[in-house]
Symmetry: C2
Subunit: 326 residues, 2 copies
Amino acid sequence: MGEFDFIGRLQQRLAEQPFNAGIDVGIGDDAAILSPPPDHRLVVTADTLNAGVHFPHCTAPYDIGYKTLAVNLSDLAAMGAEPWACTLTVGLPSLDPAWMESWLDGFLAAAQLGGITLIGGDTTRAPFATFGVTAMGLLPSDAAAGNGGLRRANALAGDDVWVSGELGGAALALRLGEAAPADLRLRLDRPIPRLALGSALRLVPDIGGCCDVSDGLLADLGHIAMASGVRIELDADRIPMGMDVRSVSDGLMLALTGGDDYELAFTAAASAREQVLAAGEETGVAVTRIGRALGGEPGVHVLDPMGREVPVPPRAGWDHFAATAD
Amino acid sequence: MGEFDFIGRLQQRLAEQPFNAGIDVGIGDDAAILSPPPDHRLVVTADTLNAGVHFPHCTAPYDIGYKTLAVNLSDLAAMGAEPWACTLTVGLPSLDPAWMESWLDGFLAAAQLGGITLIGGDTTRAPFATFGVTAMGLLPSDAAAGNGGLRRANALAGDDVWVSGELGGAALALRLGEAAPADLRLRLDRPIPRLALGSALRLVPDIGGCCDVSDGLLADLGHIAMASGVRIELDADRIPMGMDVRSVSDGLMLALTGGDDYELAFTAAASAREQVLAAGEETGVAVTRIGRALGGEPGVHVLDPMGREVPVPPRAGWDHFAATAD
């Protein structure tokens, strides 16, 4: 199977994908041509998955294909944007038709879920498998937030801090490897981008800062704290975890620092509590109030029920090069 | 040096880059936010460079940075689009500050040359160096071509076939390796995206099909022939080559199939000859008429001055997986 055979097969399969309005020319030229709808802003994000770094080498091709797109959809969700179009770069040591077909099944399943159209990309030979997506979303001008999107920098002292879903499951699945039960494994391999929740939060008056939980809750809330200039305090006993995570001795640390959860962490004024709960209810995603944003030195702190600080690693969360830095 | 140190340094350096209108939020959030200007279409392309595949491991970091962006700008040029914004994904085994600084110098030099703004991306650990760019350009609604861009599918039987610049230099430099003279080496390491020429050609009435020469002239014209349903005949003695390429025994084959030239190959009605020459003159790029598009079986053929077909490899041009396919 050669590069052009693969591109031909890809074009056939892409007949199955959702085809959004405004996409005038998709795959097949030097570039795609799009007509952005009037009165919308464009949201653009890029994320890469590398074999052995972002997924174990033994991961099923379907799951790699799914996750390649899903992690990018999660970034669009964190901005409150609606998926529109994406590019894909594939680097592989060789092109195995059956492997690629299964990979495409997963990729297209995520495309259906998110309602996004693949418009172009690049297939290259590489010493190991690497997949990159740049995803574009649209922000209608209906946003309650004045800036038209959910931004990290919008948290205010006095806001509540919230998170969707449950944390730590993906990190526990990664640790257990082959021994992970199938339903736990899905938390790692098939994260569900919180697109509907993001769109609903965009409309909540007095919504604050928002990001998705990819590097780990503390690291990602740290970005909000730094960008907004607030101190964030979390209540350890409010961090949402499944029974499986809760039952391991360091479950709380997995939930706080494990990452790969792809939930939304956000802040909102206390006056918006009902609307936040309604947004979760509407979109079928649990939302939990886990702490508050305060004035003071920017940072994230975790408190036990007695108000004592829970010690966490000095630089919690995923830094790709931390292991090689000295 | 960690990932977040690198991102911080990148943000400092990006103060030097051109900052285009309509870029509301750049690097630093989950995603960038852009306001596409009214009455413009958006052109989107993605290309990746892998160490050992797209550039020899010994390539200077400056040149890798430059070329990572330049090859994407070349795709925008081939559509007649004006560079606007791009994302960047970097995969590296480790982060060496001096290496990355030099890489950034090259990337930013290409950004200045093309007038494009880096708006986001992703830095990951990878077993080898890999760089991916998704570039977005704008097409004003001034285009002579009814569809608002230079498309591969627009060649008509009866068109002349043209190419810019000279071909084969990059392939010869790659073959010579360390022995390549410095000026020849620049053809490989610092291709100049033909952005001004692409924009000028967009305004030529009766401009036909267009693409950039990345895989090799025959392969790329083959895309035009297939997309437009035309037979393309090239005159071997009209293919533009520098003295260095001309002086090697298989110089013509290098020019026809070597690739990595990043010139524009295009067709235009015979009535447009003066305007095509004027577009080249205005933008300081030589344009050479090298053949014609005809009715008949889609394909590309090369004829010697006696009208006899010059034999070429059955699938000339760069297929990343051809060597591993069987």
